[in-house]
């Protein structure tokens, strides 16, 4: 594989620009609190750019487009849910959280109940969610650099991990605020401008592309799936699939075990898979509709004349309840959809690295204004990924072969511009989208790293281990924690090469939705919430969500047995039961422990809700 010089220059450019802006900003940050929270003089425009910049991760920039290409309509829910989560945040949480003066959620948890143990519980979940969310960022970085450099996956993971860790250690959050804000605009430009150029060049706009994509591979009257013109050799990860869209053949490079599922028929809509042994170098002929799943990772060659595999039928792709939400059968697709939507809507309010940002608003009113602007910025962004996905389906079916659809935003410009004899323009556009993708992993990863290191330094070291530590000692602890956490993130990133970016993010959202969201919602609005209630809810909801996620991962890896469709739906999208469970536990356990309602609950509620002009503001971080 060749190194792609032009896109690589763009990527190097964005990495250098990030580092320079970060270091330059350091000069502006003098005190410890500048380092953590960027003073509080950041205005709403920059603060909302920074929140949007931090929020738009690899899942948004690459993952949604890739999944729209692969699964179609159902994935639009991700775009809507990622944006709409901020509406819940605005309505119930943004203003009160800022007014309470808590810097992190653990601060809120401790301050609301005057309990050190609440802080410990909250820190545990913050670390858990953050590390979960770091993994997909690392995966995005690894596969993108692998494309551009022809490097192995781990190089991208290590490069991004090290660059961001240095930036955080040298610049801190003040640096990050500027960097995040700048990178929001990089991402917006990179997702928006190239796609308009591609629409103009190809002569087909969004609507035409959706329409064409909806006809591809339809049983009757549709457009046939294109044929592979020359043999293509690709790597399949363990559990990688080839679903044949016509009779065709594939040649694995070495002996490999696979599960072969025959084409479904009317008599047998869900045929059983059988184990087959494929010989290295020998052609394996399959017929239309058969599905091959490699048990081990393998390199294999798809023979010329075979149609592109893994291309979903057009009507399934275009319409609701397609292959994504009907994973466990059509009867459960509605349940699956609702559960996904609940996780996305409630989970945004449970992301520790986003909530920290609200502290950079000077007051509750400004926090609301910032959230409103964030909703505007995100709405503008989330219109675009589906355009890439539908165009990718028509123009670059080669990504379907071995599950490479996450790369559609990177590969599509080159493909289209080369076809019209403008390869250099294509390389430049790919450079722009690669820079956007890099901006996505860097901002989200740095935000998470600040949040995790802040958790270690501010919550664990500064408040639990050494409450009397000097500001210098805390700053040093923060820097050490940043280096250490980046190391863990790199190691975790190396483990998840084969997981779907959006799936990992969805799980982080489900855990946040089942722990932090109920705590913040009831903590801000339910005066009689007791510590016992809050603990019961967070542990119950958290255990349900984490247990489900771990179980789904084990099933994915073939370690746990596949559950019934109902159980499968409820474990792979647990929010529909874990969120009500957590809320219910908090409510009923609080009722049962009424005598434990803190004596000063009224004052706490007043602080949460009274406008600052009434003079109650007391920041958690004080001189």
């Amino acid at each position: 594989m060749n190194v792609e010089i032009i896109p690589l220059l763009f990527v190097v450019g964005i990495v250098i620009a990030t580092t320079v802006v970060g270091i330059w900003a350091t000069r502006l940050s003098r005190t410890t609190s500048d380092f953590y929270v960027a003073g509080r003089g950041v205005n709403a425009f920059w603060n909302s750019s920074a929140i949007s910049g931090e929020y738009l991760s690899a899942a948004s920039f690459m993952g949604i487009a890739g999944m729209v290409m692969k699964f179609g309509y159902d994935v639009l829910w991700y775009a809507v849910g990622y944006a709409a989560g901020y509406v819940f945040l605005l309505l119930f949480i943004a203003g009160p959280l800022r007014r309470f003066g808590a810097y992190t959620i653990p601060d809120f948890a401790e301050g609301r109940f005057d309990s050190k143990n609440m802080r410990k519980l909250a820190v545990t979940f913050a670390l858990c969610i953050s590390f979960f969310y770091m993994m997909p960022q690392m995966k995005g970085a690894g596969i993108t650099l692998a494309q551009l450099l022809g490097s192995p996956y781990w190089v991208g993971v290590v490069v991004v991990g090290v660059v961001i860790a240095l930036n955080v250690i040298l610049g801190g959050m003040k640096g990050i605020t500027l960097v995040q804000a700048f990178q929001y605009w990089v991402k917006q430009f990179a997702i928006m401008v190239p796609i308009f150029i591609l629409f103009a060049v190809s002569g087909a706009g969004y609507g035409a592309n959706v329409s064409d994509a909806g006809k591809l591979n339809r049983a009757e009257g549709g457009t046939p799936v294109p044929i592979v013109k020359e043999d293509v050799t690709k790597n399949w990860p363990a559990a990688g699939e080839v679903k044949f869209t016509s009779d065709g053949s594939i040649v694995p490079a070495k002996d490999v075990t696979a599960k072969l599922t025959p084409a479904p028929t009317e008599a047998d809509p869900k045929p059983k898979a059988t184990i087959v042994q494929l010989k290295g170098g020998m052609e394996f002929a399959a017929s239309k509709g058969e599905k091959l799943v490699f048990v081990q990772g393998v390199e294999a060659t798809l023979k010329a004349g075979t149609t592109f595999p893994n291309v979903a039928a057009g009507d399934k792709w275009l319409r609701p309840f397609g292959p994504f939400t009907s994973k466990y059968g059509d009867d459960y697709s509605l349940l699956y959809t609702y559960s996904l939507v609940i996780a996305l809507l409630c989970g945004t309010a449970g992301l520790p690295h986003i909530l920290v940002r609200f502290y950079t608003n000077p007051d509750g009113r400004e926090a609301k204004k910032t959230t409103l602007m964030v909703i505007c910025f995100l709405s503008l962004f989330y219109i675009f990924p589906a355009m890439w996905g539908s165009m990718g389906r028509n123009f670059i079916p080669s990504l379907y072969i071995n599950g490479g659809t996450d790369l559609v935003t990177i590969r599509l410009p080159e493909q289209i511009m080369a076809a019209v004899g403008q390869p250099i323009v294509g390389q430049i556009l790919t450079g722009i989208t690669s820079a956007g993708a890099f901006a996505a992993f860097m901002t989200t990863f740095s935000g998470l790293l600040v949040s995790v290191s802040g958790g270690f330094a501010h919550d664990i070291y500064g408040r639990m281990l050494r409450p009397n530590a000097s500001p210098e000692a805390r700053l040093l602890a923060f820097k050490i924690a940043a280096g250490f956490s980046a190391g863990i993130a790199i190691c975790l990133g190396l483990l998840v090469e084969n997981f779907d970016i959006n799936m990992l993010v969805g799980w982080a959202f489900a855990i946040g939705a089942s722990t932090y969201f109920p705590l913040l919602l009831l903590g801000a609005w339910y005066r009689n919430l007791t510590k016992a209630g809050a603990v019961a809810g967070m542990l119950g909801g958290g255990a349900g969500a984490v247990g489900s996620v771990v179980f789904s991962m084990l099933v994915d890896k073939g370690i746990a047995a596949a559950p019934t469709p109902l159980l499968g739906t409820l474990t792979s999208q647990p929010a529909i039961w874990t969120v009500p469970l957590a809320l219910g536990l908090m409510f009923f356990v609080s009722m049962a422990t009424k005598s434990m309602v803190p004596a000063d609950a009224r004052l706490k509620m007043l602080k949460l809700h009274a406008p600052e002009q009434l003079g109650l503001k007391a920041d958690y971080i004080q001189d």
């Binding site: 509080r40 119930f92 609507g207 309840f321 609301k368 505007c376 109650l616």
Partner: protein, 116 residues
Amino acid sequence: MSYKMDLHSDEFLRMLMRRQFSLSASIASVFIVIIAAVPLMNRFLPDVMNAEFMGFTFTWLFLGFLIFPILIGLAFLFVRRSNEFEDEAIGMVDPATMPKHDDADTPAGAPAGLGH
């Protein structure tokens, strides 16, 4: 309004929270009804939702474009109402009951150290 409430009275807190919450809850219910209706309509009125416009299906057009201005509109409405209400609430408090510490109006960008 001539009658002023004590800042630290239960009466004021209840009024404050009730009014803010009913605003949040009413906007949230509009929002939830819209979001929740889409999958149901997709399931039970497929002919309407899958009708084609300009290459899109209606439901694609809705989730891909139309829902975003709705989100922005609801958010805008909330922020305006909520701020109006806060201004009213400030006027309802008896100034004599407000805390009188000097640092209450420290400028927003003032340096702050970590910890106490």
